[in-house]
Symmetry: C2
Subunit: 457 residues, 2 copies
Amino acid sequence: MAYNAALNELSTLLGNRLSRSKSDLDLHGRSESYFPLTVPEAVAYPETSNEVSEIVKICAKHDCPVVPWGVGTSLEGHALALTGGVTVDFTRMNRVLQVNQEDMDAVVQPGITREELNKELRATGLFFSVDPGANATLGGMAMTRASGTTAVRYGTMRDNVMALEVVLADGRIIRTGTRARKSSAGYDLTGLMVGSEGTLGLITEMTVKLQGQPEAVSSAVCAFPSMEDAVNAVIATIQMGIPMARIEFVDPATAAAFNSYAGSSFQEVPHLMLEFHGSERGVAEDAERFREIADDFGGSDFQWATKPEDRTALWTMRHNAHFACLASRPGARAIVTDICVPISRLAEAVEETREDIAGASIPGPIVGHVGDGNFHCILLFMEDDPKERAEAEDLSHRLSQRALRLGGTVTGEHGIGTGKMKYMEAEHGAAWDVMGDIKRVLDPQNILNPGKMVRQM
Amino acid sequence: MAYNAALNELSTLLGNRLSRSKSDLDLHGRSESYFPLTVPEAVAYPETSNEVSEIVKICAKHDCPVVPWGVGTSLEGHALALTGGVTVDFTRMNRVLQVNQEDMDAVVQPGITREELNKELRATGLFFSVDPGANATLGGMAMTRASGTTAVRYGTMRDNVMALEVVLADGRIIRTGTRARKSSAGYDLTGLMVGSEGTLGLITEMTVKLQGQPEAVSSAVCAFPSMEDAVNAVIATIQMGIPMARIEFVDPATAAAFNSYAGSSFQEVPHLMLEFHGSERGVAEDAERFREIADDFGGSDFQWATKPEDRTALWTMRHNAHFACLASRPGARAIVTDICVPISRLAEAVEETREDIAGASIPGPIVGHVGDGNFHCILLFMEDDPKERAEAEDLSHRLSQRALRLGGTVTGEHGIGTGKMKYMEAEHGAAWDVMGDIKRVLDPQNILNPGKMVRQM
């Protein structure tokens, strides 16, 4: 084994918190996606920032790769140890260190999941807003610049991470940012680390913004005659300044999948699912204004949910879209696409995609964070059918090309990982080389999540 | 002259758009602040991105410094050519290239000022929200990560710049970001460039977010018995989720300066100045809810302004605070401080500052973007009195130290320039070295705005 010297030193440092059991390696070699098993040589379970620093120093001494791991919900194979080495699992660094109610922020360790954090915040009247659906760790969400259904109102991880403690490739521990709400003091290293997918440093502590629990919440579902009508209703709503907390698109195939998975009774047509946050009067007024806009674009079958249990049912259904779609084709696996385009091009992007899928032999339900111009196709293929798999990959490839042609990005919120590396040059051109320059100067040995993000050194 | 060879080549490239007249050099050697005249050897007026690229290539060939210049409203001497060389004045690159109404964004050249842009947007129902008071260029605002009165609602330049075209130190032209609202595709180079003060590249084109003109706007002023009451009212307002578009603090000295400069009749006590944006019913409701909160904290003398001319008068007065304070001490110059702290520490920060100023022989009115925890002291000293100048510098120094002690930053929105370099190590620790690493790899010859931002190479 190539990294024995490193593993021996790590074993001395961590004792039984360095695991080399087959089950542990297999667990950390999987992704929630279509990538093959790719195991590390060992899994380290640090408990402090200093331990993370020591781990990285040992790995640097022996040129051993270091790959950070949250809970493995990545869809693009970010946390797979492509060239072996040590996976650093942050499970044991999952504490809330501070909740600053007046400042509406919290300092947490990166291994906490968003549901755990929100559970701890329950009594404070505050909540952490970023909600990618999966119960990911905050560290993982920061590293992939995650977002989800609420980004249209409260922003993505880019907007919600205020400060970080980061272990660099040589083991140095730095702090980026402060708890002040804004700063003009130097390069935005917090922003540089968010979305860097473990290739520039390992996050060991993070300060995140919290939001006040709204006084009132109401949700709604509305059917539209076409995708274009639904998108135009969204554009009008945004331009009117109606502050939606969520605005999600589901296509007819997804509506059908909901019906059979969750027992709902949607028409099999395009729908928007919405949520408003504010005062009692505010949400009622917002809802009424939205309804008027929806009417202009042929909206029908308006259903309101103000009772918490009805709202929960609605958003649970939306969050389970991935599983509902999988269940609609028993035995299938999925490639989940993630393009994001300027909203003026969204109807066109979805319509072209729908036609492309209609011409294929596999199903591909579409759901989208339509307020941001971001949508996903869940391309369902039978794993033992190479032709279907190739078809899914081709559809996904054409989607990425479509995103670039329409002035968008190949990934709105899932990240690059191993799945999107092939589009970095096309999306960024010479700017991709600049990313490589930054990687080279901050990780000259290329030990931090090697094989990801930048042109291979 | 050291850079003759470079200047000769530039002269061939630009003809009479390379200026070496004394008046031009003097104009570009001044800052709107207390720094001594620091002139470049020449001023270049490019008209295209390619010309900027050619200028930088020529300068790189001859190791000649390149310093970008907007309209010179910087308060920290960012655009002073500390080691001579060429100032690149973006005056002639001031066009709006695209307004995408459905997407609510615009593509502009960096030399456009925010007032020019908003004038061009007048018929669209959209506006560019970032408002630092001064009529700065968008390029300059991006480079200093500027913000101002509306950041509490619409964000800073960090939040409002979506994409950039940048000329790097070797003349390469890169594009960062897209017009999609979000992306997880790689390192956030847009965010890295915003706030980099011309030390990593020169912006030649930028895509910025626009906001919808609110249906209704109302403004208000309210007096408070103490700074602490005013700040506590703000904290409560934010926690209630009342969406203020502006919430500004003025101290008794500033209120007095307004009275004599603008003929207002404020009590000489702390005040908050507010603005709400939304629907007619929404702003009325927000205002009523704020009034109830203000009542809880001893607010009085509530004055509303819903008529546009009254609102304009109010915010013109606020924008002129700098000049009103200068006028309150004829012949004085000002050091304008800019700390930003977590809002829970704001009352303490302002109170300590007030006491410190009370113990000095010079006046120092205080105004603040209190929703962000950011405030300015306008420290007024007579230029020919070295003792007063030293006193102003000492007060400013203690303010910066106070910011760091309270978990904040030495600059919320003005930037580092030459004035705040001495605090970079204290604020960032080892992270400052990382900034230096990034600078070194992207500008190995140190020709881009040398002497700024990073430890000297």
